[in-house]
């Protein structure tokens, strides 16, 4: 048996093979919210109020609410939930990030079915638009390998966009371009016959849209995120709801920025081979689920002079699970 694990800034997704012809995914919102009671009575009241929610109690008596319940609780208090990860790697901004990420990953991945069960998890590529000491993929990888090894897995890392290629480019002989639009980053992989030739990332994605829209409208990031995920808007089009109007506008700018970065990164790149045929481009990730996203992305690619011949721009069959599926495929042939 083997497992695939997409360790994302916003979602953690576990993939494993179920009964014949089935794949079982376990999705978990990568967020937490801490409530620290000040009196024993408050402790009892809070614990009662959290009935049915997913949470843990810390040694100092505080309650750490996890997952989507954390976001709901934060929105209820007009506050923002915290993230154990920031821009694709374990957050150095949050004091409890490593401990909570460890707890979540242990719970979501569960115990291995046999000692040394293979597990492949995804990591981001080095960004082309940011040089930041906080961005340490090596450390992030080491933290995850250590905790998964302690649980009993034989764990290995794979580039996020490479995993997406394995999941989505099967009918194209594993040749094409894949972009994983997560919350913190956009990861890119150009693949030729199953071999990644170029991988890189950019550091603006869904969280950037939320942050910018939150600043523009004076709302908390969590509220913007909740509106974005539940509301009806089309990327780049006007909207009566001011939060959604801001979100739609910043989406447009994000796509424009990313396609320009793609063009700049690939134009004249030594490692890019001369492709005989036009390439399929696959997009996935939670950020790509917005209405009108794929069409606008295809338009902007052309407008910003993307240097490779494009056959089609298509959405992954299951945009939220595609990376985890790719990790599972990699684990099965590891």
């Amino acid at each position: 048996m083997a497992k695939g694990l997409d360790v994302g800034t916003s979602f953690i997704v576990l993939a494993e093979e179920g009964s014949k012809g089935k794949v079982v995914y376990k999705d978990f919102r990568d967020a937490f919210y801490v409530i620290k009671p000040t009196t024993p009575i408050a402790t009892k009241m809070i614990e009662k109020g959290l009935a049915g929610k997913t949470f843990v109690k810390d040694e100092d008596g505080s309650f750490i609410i996890l997952g989507k319940d954390a976001i709901e609780k934060a929105v209820e208090r007009n506050d923002s939930a915290k993230r154990p990860m920031y821009k694709g790697v374990v957050s150095s901004k949050e004091k409890d990030a490593r401990r909570i990420l460890t707890y979540i990953l242990k719970e979501v991945s569960g115990k291995p079915s046999e000692p040394g069960e293979k597990l492949v998890f995804c990591i981001p590529a080095q960004p082309v638009d940011q040089e930041d000491d906080d961005f340490d993929v090596g450390y992030h990888e080491d933290v995850i390998i250590k905790l998964l090894t302690e649980v009993g897995y034989s764990a290995r890392a794979i580039n996020e966009a490479e995993a997406l290629c394995y999941s989505e480019l099967e009918k194209d002989d594993y040749t094409g371009v894949a972009l994983s639009w997560g919350a913190g980053m956009v990861n890119v992989c150009v693949m030729l016959n199953g071999e990644p030739v170029v991988t890189f990332s950019t550091t603006k994605s869904g969280d950037w849209v939320d942050r910018m829209a939150a600043v523009a409208t004076g709302e908390a990031d969590s509220i913007v995120q909740a509106e974005k995920e539940q509301g009806d808007f089309t990327v780049g089009e006007p909207n009566d709801n001011q939060v959604l109007a801001a979100v739609a506008s910043y989406y447009d700018r994000l796509i424009d920025y990313t396609t320009k970065q793609l063009t700049a990164a690939m134009d004249g790149h030594k490692s890019i081979p001369k492709f005989k045929d036009p390439l399929p481009i696959v997009v996935a990730g939670g950020t790509s689920k917005a209405k009108g996203f794929v069409d606008l992305f295809a338009t902007k690619l052309e407008a910003n002079g993307f240097p490779l011949p494009v056959k089609e721009v298509r959405h992954a069959a299951d945009p939220l699970h595609a990376v985890a599926r790719g990790c599972l495929i990699a684990a099965q042939i590891m």
Binding site: K57, D58, E170, H321
Partner: protein, 100 residues
């Protein structure tokens, strides 16, 4: 042979002997090199050749204990089951990698 011819031959012999001595001396003599004190002008300084010796600054992963987090409430994660023969996809990719 007149005097000029004899003089020319002598000069040629001296030059040849000096040349041979110079070449033999260059080949067999001690090698003098001073890479540390290589000279350069003020405006075009000569960079010293440094040996690259790097220290491993990779961040150490300390123990992370989660024992003091007491689980309350429900299970983490929502389960979704889809029809997907992922094993066939893995076989195809494995075959492609094997054929390379």
């Amino acid at each position: 042979m007149n005097d000029i011819t004899i003089f020319s031959i002598q000069v040629l012999l001296y030059v040849t002997a000096f040349g041979l001595g110079f070449v033999i001396g260059k080949i067999t003599g001690p090698k003098i090199s001073d890479p540390i004190d290589a000279k350069g002008s003020f405006f075009k300084p000569v960079q010293r050749q440094k040996k690259v010796v790097e220290i491993d600054e990779k961040k150490f992963v300390t123990d992370i204990t989660t024992d003091r987090l007491i689980k309350k409430g429900g299970e983490l994660g929502t389960q979704v089951i889809v029809n997907d023969d992922v094993g066939a996809s893995a076989s195809k990719l494995a075959q492609l990698k094997k054929n390379k």
